[in-house]
Symmetry: C2
Subunit: 276 residues, 2 copies
């Protein structure tokens, strides 16, 4: 990371030197939103989808993004040109700014991070494990930074060999720490529609899968999950990952499902057609 640049409040600075004063409200009060997307060979798939979501998150929690969309794209492009990565992550982070009383919002701090070498382990193809947490995110349509509920479960995740936490509440499932969840039952696909962050990959997987089978966006119960034939997750870095075990209970036969593979192949064809 030694020569990596990032962007903070209208300045490009080396990542290693990128600091904020401790009075930042993102740090002191969790008053921050973000978004995250990938650069592939210098281009960013579905950039406008991600920026739509970022500006919408900011609006919903009353934070002003200091750059309009055109200028933001310029800054991202400049950052990518400087860092010269091929296949990197880009994280936008917007906080409530510096606050004298550590409570009242100030002028937002805005930063763009460009991260290299942290995505898409291939072992995910073999399927992954999840653990459960009774939790419903507040303002689920907003990409807030509050991940403590699952991060505090790292010891339990290690114990189970799980990579993420699946949230459920009142008997219904919603999403995992950083991904959307889908289940296959009787050759139909279902995914929760309420109380979730609407993933960009989720949107495209639904679109692609509809060519192959019935797809339902609706409430999905924990009971249905246990009774499902196949389960998978979708996310920006992961694309699609089979889920083979949840909280020690096998899903289906405990192996990646056939329809999951079929949808995944169709999604990868769709993705490649975008020219990335």
């Amino acid at each position: 990371m030694s020569n990596t640049l990032c962007y903070i409040n209208n300045r490009f600075v080396p990542y290693e030197e990128a600091k904020v004063h401790i009075s930042d409200l993102g740090l002191q009060r969790g008053d921050a939103i973000f978004d995250y997307f990938l650069e592939i060979n210098g281009r960013i798939p579905f950039l406008d989808d991600y920026l739509d979501r970022f500006y919408n998150s900011a609006r919903l929690v009353d934070l002003d993004v200091p750059l309009d969309r055109a200028l933001l794209k310029e800054k991202i492009a400049h950052l990518l040109q400087q860092n010269k990565f091929r296949n990197s992550g880009i994280k936008l982070l917007l906080t409530g700014g510096y606050s004298d009383d550590l409570y009242s919002p100030g002028t937002p701090n805005f930063m763009i991070l460009n991260l290299h070498g942290i995505h898409s382990p291939d072992e995910f193809d073999a399927g992954v494990k999840l653990i459960l947490l009774d939790y419903q995110r507040h303002m689920p349509e907003v990409k807030t930074t509050f991940y403590m509920p699952s991060i505090s479960l790292f010891p339990k995740m290690k114990e189970y060999g799980a990579i993420e936490v699946l949230y459920h509440h009142n008997g219904m499932i919603s999403e995992t720490t950083r991904a959307n969840i889908f289940l296959v039952k009787d050759k139909k696909l279902a995914t929760p529609s309420a109380g979730v962050l609407k993933g960009i990959t989720r949107k495209h997987v639904i679109m692609v899968a509809k060519e192959l089978m019935p797809v339902e966006e609706r409430d999905v119960s924990l009971d249905e999950l246990w009774d499902s034939d196949e389960v998978f997750m979708t996310g920006t870095s992961k694309h699609m990952i089979p889920v083979v075990e949840i909280e020690g209970r096998k899903i289906g036969n405990g192996k990646p499902g056939e329809l999951t593979k079929e949808i995944s192949q169709a999604y990868e064809r769709f993705f490649e057609k975008q020219g990335f």
Copy 2:
């Protein structure tokens, strides 16, 4: 604040220069807990109560406090000696530390902030207004930094002239942004017992009030709130503040209640007896 010192990771540094790298998980993922208490004439009322709560918060979210209690007290004492404030606030903040992938916990960052001149406006005696939010904090017994749900309502708070947000969920009330809530009805006192951070001032107000009237710690509904004779909040900086209006609806006759005043006077006598 120009000569104020604070403490970060075993160093005393000028507050103005106190910064964290942007890879801190408190900033990136809201993975942080804190506590807050007052120094009065060089002494800290109920310090062990606050430290009990701080170490308990840390334990419940799997964060290690890098100092044991004796050493932490030494650092706080040293900070107070250096800053020489009389009547200041002390904030402990513990985060998940620096994280290469901005997700996996690192070695916690721990800081002690000493804040001057931000507490207890006298105008609170006249009673304050609140607004409502349907929200239940996750792990309410942990003092997490996630205040975005109420901070994002600053514009609405301004519109109503409200100072804080009262949380309710499934028809029951819990707590406000930074305080506990009590209501008086038919000369009895009630305060929510579940889903709240157990305030140190709350504990002592209950103790004091029990000498004066029946006190119930139990579930309290929003309907009861509207039907109550008097409402007040308790907090470390505020001690007791009458609440006279919530979301535009007057409580009782819209003025601070007589029993609220009686309990408040008894609490202040108790507080002064501690020798502060």
